[in-house]
């Protein structure tokens, strides 16, 4: 099992996405030299699955690298960040992703584990992205109408899915690109290191402001392109002046 984690980490590094080593508390080590065969997904397109949170309780566990004496765990979401320092023998944390008893709001978290020798020298740093997706935890809203009036509206921070598997292209892209262009405003090009995942678009307390946004999603190596137009209205009303 331990070997499988290392393999998985190696694979993820190869695809440009570093994942935090997260190990089930209590472990799953078997007795003897070999383990029972398990399924290890090696597809570069399965990132969405790897990054999705399926439970409120996420047990984080880490191994201490040689020479490290302290570690800082920072968790940064679209709405804020927390940071916790550990020293000594601590090697796990049960992270409550959202408050119990409430419907979780979608968010994308970057977890960073930074090991230090003496508080200043970095020994190793590991990162992982974890997405809270409503549809992994309960019911969701599905817009079925062909001419929905709410489809193109956006209010706050949102997760935007991307997945090369949506296309029938014969290419095998390993990365993606999401361009967000505000009409008569800024354009942001986001190079995404994987072919499948969620992009956290932080709108609240950002410089994006209000207006109309054109989104373009492409997968290098494939000819498919997805586009969308979204509108963020100030307080939900639009006053047209002539």
């Amino acid at each position: 099992m331990r070997h499988a984690f290392v393999s998985a980490l190696t694979r993820m590094r190869k695809t440009g996405v570093l994942f935090l080593l997260i190990v089930v508390l209590g472990g799953a080590w078997s007795v003897g030299n070999t383990t029972s065969p398990v399924l290890v997904d090696t597809s570069s397109r399965a990132t969405r699955r790897w990054m999705t949170v399926y439970t409120n309780d996420v047990p984080l566990t880490w191994d201490w690298p040689l020479g490290a004496s302290s570690v800082t765990l920072s968790i940064t979401g679209l709405s804020g960040a927390v940071s916790t320092n550990f020293s000594g023998v601590a090697s796990n944390l049960l992270w409550k992703v959202f408050a119990s008893g409430v419907s979780p709001s979608e968010d994308l978290y970057e977890l960073r584990l930074t090991f230090y020798t003496n508080g200043t020298t970095v020994v190793e740093s590991l990162t992982s992205r974890l997405a809270v997706v409503s549809g992994a935890l309960g019911a969701i809203s599905v817009d079925t109408g062909a001419e929905s009036r709410t489809w193109e509206k956006v209010k706050g921070n949102v997760l935007i899915p991307y997945d090369a598997c949506w296309t029938n292209s014969t290419a095998d892209p390993v990365s993606s690109q999401l361009v967000i262009a505000k009409t008569e405003g800024a354009t942001q090009t986001n190079a995404l290191a994987d072919a499948s995942g969620y992009f956290g678009w932080k709108l609240v307390r950002s410089d994006w402001g209000y207006g109309t946004f054109d989104l373009f999603l492409t997968f290098p190596g494939a000819d498919a392109e997805w586009d969308a137009v979204l509108t963020r209205l100030l307080d939900g009303t639009m006053i047209r002046l002539q």
Binding site: V24, T35, L39, S134, A139, S141
Partner: protein, 408 residues
């Protein structure tokens, strides 16, 4: 990621297939399709069906067959995805489902047969009925046999519902289809290893005049196979608007032709003719013999063919009611005789071993397979015979067809 580790660890010891990590999400803002992702834990090589129940809150939703694609049938272990198109569900159009959720269940014993009642409308209660192996072997459906065919000494595992032949309802008002699992077989006279990656259902009989009547409202309620129908009349022509031209236009058919009517009448949008590879696979039914009996080695095995098919030497020069000869190992009747059966493919082309072969992109004549009541020699009735082809608009009393229902 953590949950994945948990399920993988459990999967190492689990005996029964299981589904976990179900995620539902609409592809907002790109389009309205809904990805239903899940992880299937099962033994390597094991294939299962996945049953999907959908709800809006506590209210169960009926999702039309045509609105679902992806990993529903014959699914192996690993990360899997079902795609639901909510815009294909007319009853939900122009409103939002505010509490959409799904329940996925592993079906380890998929149905053996599917029965479509052609007298009922799409979605009507009782329109589609499934027949399970245990129901057949418990005698709930009448006569049946187990492992009727041995392929050169090796049993071809199968349960065949032979009782389907004794009630003309199954040859006229209803369409009985046998589940055919994806697999690899030797295609063509050289038995080039070829894989079909998708499960499908195959009509146990050639399409009858009665079934044609139920769909097209012309003809009579007869259990004889429908004949004198051109390829174009079955699924559409290259000069239709829009043009219908397998494989260039894939599964597009003309709405007013037979397959188009069959799809709209039943609500099952993946009905079609089989490709020639699918036809040969379903005709072989796990055998490798000259005919599909599992023992014949050459065209000289006339007595064997007489058991299996109506051809010129035993038909009296006339067509016969379907299902009167012995079925193949998968319970499919008249594959090698009765009427020639239309395949999707253009005639010609080489067998390359590519998976799911679709034939030539262009051609002059469409390929027909199997033999017919007028076949002058046994060699015309072999499983691999490709001696009959016809222009797409040509009709003949010797030509008919068998439908299949593709599974997504």
């Amino acid at each position: 990621m953590v949950s994945l580790v948990i399920s993988l660890a459990c999967g190492a010891f689990a005996a029964d297939p299981a589904i976990s990590q179900v995620t539902v999400r609409q592809r907002w803002p790109w389009n309205k399709l809904v990805d239903i992702d899940y992880m299937l834990t099962a033994e390597l090589g094991e294939k299962v069906d996945v049953s999907l129940q959908a709800y809006d809150g506590q209210t169960e939703l009926t999702l039309p067959f045509a609105s679902l694609t992806g990993d529903l049938y014959g699914v192996g272990p690993g990360p899997r995805r079902i795609v639901w198109d909510p815009t294909a569900t007319s009853y939900t159009n122009n409103r939002a489902l505010t509490q959409f959720n799904v329940r996925l269940t592993v079906v380890t014993n998929p149905p053996l047969y599917m029965i479509v009642d052609l007298t009922r409308s799409a979605g009507e209660s009782g329109q589609i009925e499934y027949v399970y192996e245990e129901d057949v072997t418990n005698g709930l459906w009448g006569a049946w046999v187990r492992n009727p065919v041995t392929n050169f000494g090796t049993v071809v595992e199968s349960v065949v519902w032979t009782g389907v032949t004794t009630n003309d309802t199954y040859k006229t008002d209803k369409l009985v289809l046998r589940r055919v699992h994806a697999g690899t077989f030797g295609l063509g006279p050289s038995a080039i290893s070829t894989t079909l990656t998708k499960d499908f259902y195959a009509g146990v009989f050639e399409l009858t005049q009665g079934q044609w009547y139920r769909i097209m409202n012309t003809g009579s309620l007869s259990a004889y196979p429908q004949f004198a129908v051109s390829y174009n009349a079955i699924r559409g022509a290259t000069n239709d608007i829009p043009a219908v031209n397998w494989p260039a236009t894939k599964y597009l058919v003309t709405a007013t032709n037979f397959v188009g009517h069959l799809r709209s009448k039943t609500g099952l949008s993946t009905f079609d003719l089989p490709t020639c590879a699918q036809w040969e696979y379903l005709a072989r039914a796990g055998t490798t013999s000259y005919f599909n009996d599992g023992a014949s080695t050459s065209a000289s095995d006339t007595n064997i063919l007489n058991r299996l098919a109506w051809w010129s030497k035993n038909s009296g020069g006339a067509s016969h009611v379907v299902g009167e000869k012995e079925p193949n190992a998968w319970g499919l009747y008249d594959t090698l005789g009765g009427l020639l059966e239309a395949g999707l493919d253009w005639s010609g082309g080489a067998i390359t071993g590519e998976p799911d072969p679709m034939g030539l992109m262009t051609g002059i004549r469409r390929q027909f397979r199997g033999g017919c009541y007028g076949s002058p020699g046994t060699e015309y009735c072999s499983v691999t015979s490709i001696q009959n082809a016809a222009a797409p608009d040509e009709v003949s009393n010797y030509r008919g067809f068998r439908v299949i229902l593709l599974l997504p």
